[in-house]
Symmetry: C2
Subunit: 244 residues, 2 copies
């Protein structure tokens, strides 16, 4: 029997944001592998084995998924949002590169609604013009790289989607990121704090950058800093399509 | 009767990539407004009026949608991909800003799978590390702005997703974009050309930047330029999670 490995995105939280493609893959799976809170989003059923794991063990988790697939299982690795954006897909390909004997396994990556798209939709259209996405976690890259990217993103006048802005183990980076953007002249830019988007705990807050404080973000928050032209209309925030 | 306006993303092409949230909105609609090829993706039924329109009339189309909603209709404005990424959501908010009497209409934006996520999934995980998205069309912004952003994106070592790289009316910009990236020292970066992703005409091509030529892209192509660490493993391309 030939196993398969599918890397799927569950979207930001609401079941109505899971694509039918991903739902079909979950229905056909024998094994679900992923970070425990995401595995918990998959309904248990007979014939389905759940393999929840801790945070920060992405490579071991990826290798386990490859091994299960090599034994003939139909494995779905789940991420929230899109699996290709700061999530499990890169870890699986890293594990695959380290294990040439698994190279011929049938692998599929199924896209999903990543957090910044759901956050943007809740706020209006702050990503309607050129933008960038930066993971503010310095677990996997040196902090100076993040600082440099923030400066260049401000200079390019990108809207900036910030993933993983702040956690209990990284309480200070986000405040520093706000300072860098202030130094870059972004005081008047509009900032959207989108917490737990598409869940019952959703909260959208919109302020000017010089009114933003680090405590407004936590691990469940996606932050979008508008570009210099980003505007409000009523309760909405949007990036005009034109640039000068 | 109170009308409603919903701005929805149909995903890149495959019906299995349309979220249930969007499908439910289409099922409840009385009117579908959008660029003709996208409206054609909605199944006609009794009680549903289709309003297809030409390319490049986004503001008129947005105003028409607002007017229909103000008359009590349940209007869905459709975009391909995600409506907030180089699509109709910004145009609707622009039209709303110009027409204060419509400010109280109930509006919702429903996210979707934008082209770069589906393209990335088809190729592996080239957006697994920090990245940016640039619309290469200079219909709405001066070309020098695009050049500046490409240079800064290369300097920031972002992966770069290029939307609308090339059309019959804009045959030359994409070649110039490739030149700029060569000047910025990106010759060895991996480039993914993802055409018509998730449709029967899908074609994924992966080359080094110094092997890329403008003719490899057209209006149905999404181009992803990897960052300096982006690698191949077998037929896959991925951005490692780590950066130095």
């Amino acid at each position: 029997m030939t196993g398969t490995l599918t890397i799927a995105g569950l979207g930001p939280g609401d079941e109505a944001l899971i694509t039918p493609e991903v739902s079909a893959a979950l229905a056909a799976a024998t094994d679900i592998v992923g970070y425990a809170p995401y595995v918990a989003r998959v309904r248990p059923r007979d014939g389905l084995t759940l393999h929840p794991s801790d945070n920060r063990v992405e490579l071991q988790r990826a290798a386990e998924a490859l091994r299960l697939a090599s034994e003939g299982r139909h494995v779905v690795v789940v991420s929230s949002g899109d699996p290709g954006v700061f999530a499990m897909a890169s870890a699986v390909f890293e594990a695959l590169e380290a294990s040439p004997h698994w190279r011929d396994l049938p692998i599929r990556v199924l896209p999903g609604v990543t957090a910044m798209l759901a956050a943007a939709a809740s706020a209006g259209a702050p990503l309607g013009h050129d933008f960038c996405a930066i993971n503010l976690s310095d677990n996997l890259k040196p902090w100076p790289v993040i600082e440099k990217r923030l400066r260049l993103a401000a200079e390019a006048d990108f809207a900036i989607a910030m993933y993983n802005p702040r956690s209990t183990s990284r309480p200070d980076g986000f405040g520093r990121a706000l300072e860098i953007l202030r130094e870059a002249g972004c005081d008047e830019r509009i900032v959207v704090f989108a917490r737990a988007v598409s869940t019952p705990e959703q909260r959208i807050e919109t302020v000017r950058l010089d009114e933003a404080s680090p405590e407004m973000a936590d691990m469940r928050t996606l932050v979008i800093v508008g570009n210099s032209a980003t505007r409000r209309v009523g309760r909405w925030v949007y990036a005009p399509r034109h640039a000068r």
